[in-house]
């Protein structure tokens, strides 16, 4: 019997919940927005790039955009296409994850060894060549500006309101806002997912051990949770940022390390009720090892509230990053919506509406999308609403 036939016969809990979640328009809307952001993040260098996608000059074709992909771009492309190919493949989830990890590791090594974009970046050359008529044919990206292209060849490109050349206007240092917005989706998505993953892993382990063992493990664990709960996250973040370099990964780690408390509470509560359930005792009576009982048999039953609150957690991680960037202590190298938002208020109190509107809207819509998804998931997983 084929796998699909079995699945139609007995829909698994996961399929069931996915189906019920997706029946809600809010969830579909939220998911559409997030998928759109993922596509923008993956194809950012092809959507917004000062370098032409295809260029024919002196009789031969070249692609400056592809030649100058960063190692990160290459890794993202590899992972994205592997995911698309594996999506419908009839192999088990474990195999898929293993293949995905293998691709990730091998392309990371490969990209770091072989991919070396030129260190000296002069975006103007392409535009100057084009204007001088040195190229026979050129295909530019839809937004022909890189996020850090300060357009030094153009007079007065600073703080332009939206027009046909710059769809969302330009910023104070003459960078194209639309281009920055697209590249900022990478930060928004990755900071949400990775920091929440870190928080969930810590929360599940701490909460699971507390809920299973109760007694003194629970007592110590709860005190740890309370200590972390009592610390104001933003204040802790500010302190951390004062001591550590401003780096995306450090920021993810900090948001993750301070955000696990909620998940630990949830998992502990679930485990406290699960540990006395008959199937847990039946599993113990069958000689199943403790690790499997806690992290397979019990966890899969108690994951529901974690999944729901994780979707809200992603939203709040994005907000935290935006807040930090808005306060001017966020990331320096990468574009981020919060950092862009900060530029809306110029020197001397001038208000540039386009710089406020687009990043603000993007943050709002993304947080809203995750909340819609979380709410739909919660309703789909709630047995009382079935």
């Amino acid at each position: 019997m084929t796998e699909t036939a079995v699945q139609t016969m007995a829909p698994s809990l996961a399929n069931d919940v996915t189906g019920r979640t997706m029946r809600r328009w809010g969830a579909r809307l939220g998911l559409t927005w997030i998928v759109l952001l993922v596509l923008l993040a993956v194809f950012a260098p092809f959507l917004a790039n000062s370098r032409p996608l295809l260029l024919k000059s002196h009789g031969h074709w070249s692609s400056p955009a592809i030649e100058n992909l960063t190692p990160a771009d290459v890794i993202i492309q590899a992972v994205f296409w592997t995911t698309i190919i594996l999506w419908k493949m009839p192999v088990s989830l474990r195999t898929k994850i293993l293949i995905e990890l293998a691709v990730l590791v091998s392309t990371t090594i490969g990209a770091l060894v072989w991919v070396h974009p030129s260190e000296l970046v002069i975006y103007e050359t392409y535009r100057q060549d084009e204007r001088a008529g040195n190229v026979e044919k050129v295909i530019n990206a839809p937004i022909p500006f890189s996020p850090d292209d300060h357009q030094r060849d153009l007079e007065d490109a600073q703080l332009k309101p939206p027009d046909s050349a710059h769809w969302m206007g330009t910023t104070e240092n003459s960078a194209d806002l639309a281009s920055n917005m697209i590249f900022a989706t990478r930060i928004a998505l990755s900071i949400g997912f990775i920091s929440v993953s870190i928080a969930v892993v810590i929360g599940v382990i701490v909460g699971g051990l507390m809920g299973y063992f109760v007694g003194w493990v629970d007592l110590l664990g709860m005190r740890l949770v309370e200590i972390f709960d009592a610390v104001p996250t933003l204040l802790l973040l500010l302190c951390f940022i004062a001591f550590f370099p401003r780096n995306l990964y450090i920021m993810m780690a900090i948001i993750g390390l301070t955000g696990w408390v909620g998940y630990a509470y949830f998992v502990r509560g679930e485990f406290l009720s699960l540990r006395d359930r008959d199937f847990v005792q039946a599993a113990r009576a069958a000689g199943i090892p403790l690790r499997s009982i806690i992290f397979r048999h019990m966890l899969l039953n108690g994951l529901t509230p974690v999944i729901v609150s994780a979707s809200f957690g992603v939203a709040s991680a994005i907000l935290i990053e935006s807040t930090l960037s808005f306060l001017g202590i966020g990331l320096v190298q990468e574009s981020s919506w919060g950092a862009l938002l900060e530029e809306a208020l110029g020197v001397g109190g001038t208000f540039y509406w386009w710089i406020a509107l687009y990043p603000g809207l993007a943050i709002f819509l993304t947080v809203f999308a995750y909340n819609l998804l979380g709410e739909a998931l919660r309703d789909a997983l709630d047995p009382k609403l079935r």
Binding site: L13, Q281, A286
Partner: protein
């Protein structure tokens, strides 16, 4: 006489509850022989389930602890094994099925995944071989289309089917002893009969022993070779099923029988045992049954001295001060109907 598969010697289990220690199982000794079904009967709260869980060391520790005694499986004391060794015993040599089939299967795994996990733990086989074993086990317990059923989730099965799955899972590793903790209590009567019949058939095929924990005397009469009656943490009577049903010696056993409706009895009220099982934190002095006992009636001996378990007739043990005074029926009976227990209490 054959060696017992499992022997409990003076097992005593205690629970600590906010500083106070209670003993739901005291000084329990039992033997189960190969191929035998031993029933442990008693009201709720008399300690029968705790006894069963203690054999597999499944009582929550803390607050529970095993104060003393031995649990000998083929002469090996399970109480001295490491947790790692104990895991091999659980599900491998001793399997257990529970009262609530509706909740004893994990809802997020297919029944195949659950059986296969146990099979792979105890037998060195790969996944596809384990699925074969699982399908065979499901077939053995009378589930149609086992090759399709292994891929189903528990919520698609009825209570009787789930108990069959539990039995299949328990028996997939060929245990020597099956502990069945009220296996039919949650099922309706026709399904009960089917499940008991199934257990009997599988027991005959495999020659395994069954420790049957129940409060249903009908189940005992149908299945058990020997019966131990438990009351308030102790065994008060032990005999072959025939002896016990025909000549109950202990007033508690008599009371249990009088409380069961009989086919052919016309009307009238059933005789209940007055009072309730005492809470383990407030066991009465002397004979624990004396406040409810029709024989005691103010006898200071009953109120002050706990009667020892003694052998009244060959293979028939009971603990009561007044057995001889109240022996209404002859103890001997025709040999033709005898199906003697294969052993007696551990001594």
């Amino acid at each position: 006489m054959a060696q017992p598969i499992l022997e409990l010697r003076n097992l005593t289990v205690a629970f600590e509850n906010s500083g106070r220690e209670i003993r739901p199982v005291q000084d329990v000794s039992l033997s189960i022989y190969p191929g035998q079904t031993l029933a442990v009967v008693g009201e709720s709260g008399c300690g029968k389930s705790v006894t069963a869980l203690s054999i597999l060391r499944l009582i929550p520790m803390p607050p529970g602890k095993i104060l003393g005694g031995q649990v000998l499986l083929d002469g090996r004391d399970l109480l001295t094994l490491s947790e790692r060794q104990m895991r091999d015993v659980r599900g491998g040599e001793i399997a257990m099925i529970f009262q609530e089939p509706m909740t004893s299967l994990n809802p997020v795994f297919t029944i195949g995944e659950q059986i296969v996990e146990a099979v792979k733990l105890h037998q060195h086989v790969n996944t596809s071989q384990a699925y074969k074993i699982a399908e065979q086990a499901l077939h053995d317990v009378g589930i149609a289309d086992p090759d399709k059923r292994v891929h189903e989730y528990p919520h698609r099965l009825s209570g009787g089917m789930r108990q069959r799955v539990m039995i299949a899972m328990a028996l997939s590793c060929q245990p020597k002893l099956l502990i069945a903790d009220e296996p039919t209590t949650a099922l309706d009567v026709t399904i009960q009969a089917q499940i008991l019949e199934l257990l009997r058939r599988l027991q005959q095929q495999r020659g395994m022993s069954i420790l049957l924990i129940t409060h249903d005397l009908g189940v005992v009469a149908e299945n058990a070779d020997a019966v131990a009656v438990m009351y308030a943490s102790k065994i008060v009577e032990y005999a072959s099923a025939f002896d016990l049903f025909d000549y109950p010696k202990h007033p508690y056993t008599e009371g249990l029988f009088r409380a069961v409706p009989r086919l052919g009895d016309s009307g009238g009220r059933l005789t209940a045992i007055p009072g309730a099982v005492p809470n383990p934190s407030r066991f009465p002095s002397g004979c624990k049954f004396h406040p409810r006992c029709p024989r005691a009636s103010g006898d200071p001996l009953c109120a002050n001295t706990e009667p020892p378990l003694r052998e009244i007739a060959p293979g028939h043990w009971a603990s009561c001060h007044h057995i001889e005074d109240f022996a209404q029926k002859p103890i001997t009976r025709p040999a033709s109907e005898a199906k003697r227990p294969q052993g007696s209490l551990a001594t």
